[in-house]
């Protein structure tokens, strides 16, 4: 990412950053808004996480330039992603199958 950018490129980037920023603000308002609806637990969790994931992806893709990142970094992140999922499966392992 850090190499061979013309000033023109960068200016284009900056416009993208500003759009992303606006989107993030909007999504923040949406999440907070949703929470005032006091939905029941499951839809509330799903909605909140979906919005958070969108926001997170925006940050990662554009602010962190992940969208145009190198293979090596993707490989490391995919590996991390897998183990992260394993980690998040802990509660399932715990409650899913106790024999008593």
């Amino acid at each position: 990412m850090s190499e061979h950018h013309t000033a023109e490129d960068i200016k284009k980037h900056v416009r993208v950053y500003i759009n992303v920023f606006v989107a993030l603000m909007a999504l923040t308002i949406i999440t907070v808004g949703i929470s005032y609806l006091h939905l029941s637990v499951v839809p509330a969790i799903i909605l909140a996480l979906v919005v958070a994931t969108i926001k997170g992806s925006l940050v990662a893709s554009y602010f962190m330039h992940l969208i145009s990142e190198k293979k090596m970094i993707f490989a490391a992140l995919i590996l991390t992603g897998i183990f992260f999922i394993v980690l998040m499966a802990l509660p399932v392992l715990y409650y899913g199958d106790r024999f008593y």
Binding site: M1, S2, E3, H5, A7, I10, K11, H13, V14, Y17, I18, V20, F21, L24, M25, T28, T31, V32, I34, S35, V41, A44, I45, A48, L49, V51, A52, K55, G56, V59, A60, F63, M64, K70, K71, M72, I73, A76, L77, L79, T80, F83, F84, L87, M88, L90, P91, Y94, Y95
Partner: protein, 196 residues
């Protein structure tokens, strides 16, 4: 013999050292916060009762804090872009604002904490509060760490602009990656703790 690829990327990987380094570090951070999130789910699942975050915590303040942190992310990335555009003065302004916004975040956070403590509410009172204080505390430490780095890059560190501008730009990019990650963590913390 000098260490290669500190500034320019290695041709076959396309990366300079610090960038790979910081991504790896962030990978480990994913696992750190992942373990805490997972613990949160596990404990909540096993709890008899669980309060809604909004019953206990101050949503307007936290929303404000979200805005502050997201803003600091955009100023961070603008700082990098300014260096890319050879505009050092703008860089100083942006990176300076990033630090200030981080400061703002911490001040708001301290109001939140202060309000809790003054009501005699602490981490020992319930599992929810325990996880709230642990997660936000750890996140706060990350903010402080980022501010120290960014503060350095604003102040003494920025002198590198004269000697090795490319390297400084790389440093800002790398510091930015970390700072955006801190923002990203908050993006998840906020709904999970406050809104659900």
């Amino acid at each position: 013999m000098q260490i290669p690829y500190t500034v320019h990327p290695r041709p076959d990987t396309g990366l300079f050292n610090a960038k790979l380094g910081v991504w790896l570090f962030l990978a480990s951070e994913v696992m750190l916060f992942g373990a805490l999130f997972s613990s949160y789910v596990l404990l909540r699942e096993g709890a008899l009762t669980w309060p809604h975050g909004y019953e206990i915590l101050n949503i307007p303040l936290a929303t404000l804090n979200t805005v502050v942190l997201i803003s600091s992310s955009i100023t961070m990335v603008m700082a990098w872009a300014s260096l890319k555009l050879n505009d050092f003065a703008k860089y100083k302004r942006y990176i300076g604002s990033t630090v200030l916004l981080g400061f703002g975040f911490l001040i708001i956070k301290s109001f939140e904490y202060g309000a809790k403590f003054s009501h005699g509410i602490g981490p020992g009172d319930s599992t929810f509060l325990a996880i709230y204080f642990t997660l936000t505390g750890l996140h706060g430490l990350h903010v402080i760490g980022g501010m120290i780095v960014n503060g350095y890059l604003w102040g003494p560190g920025s002198k590198m602009w004269q000697s090795d501008p490319e390297r400084l730009t790389n440093r800002i990019e790398v510091a930015g990656l970390y700072w955006h990650f801190v923002d990203l963590v908050w993006i998840f913390l906020f709904p999970v703790l406050y809104l659900l």
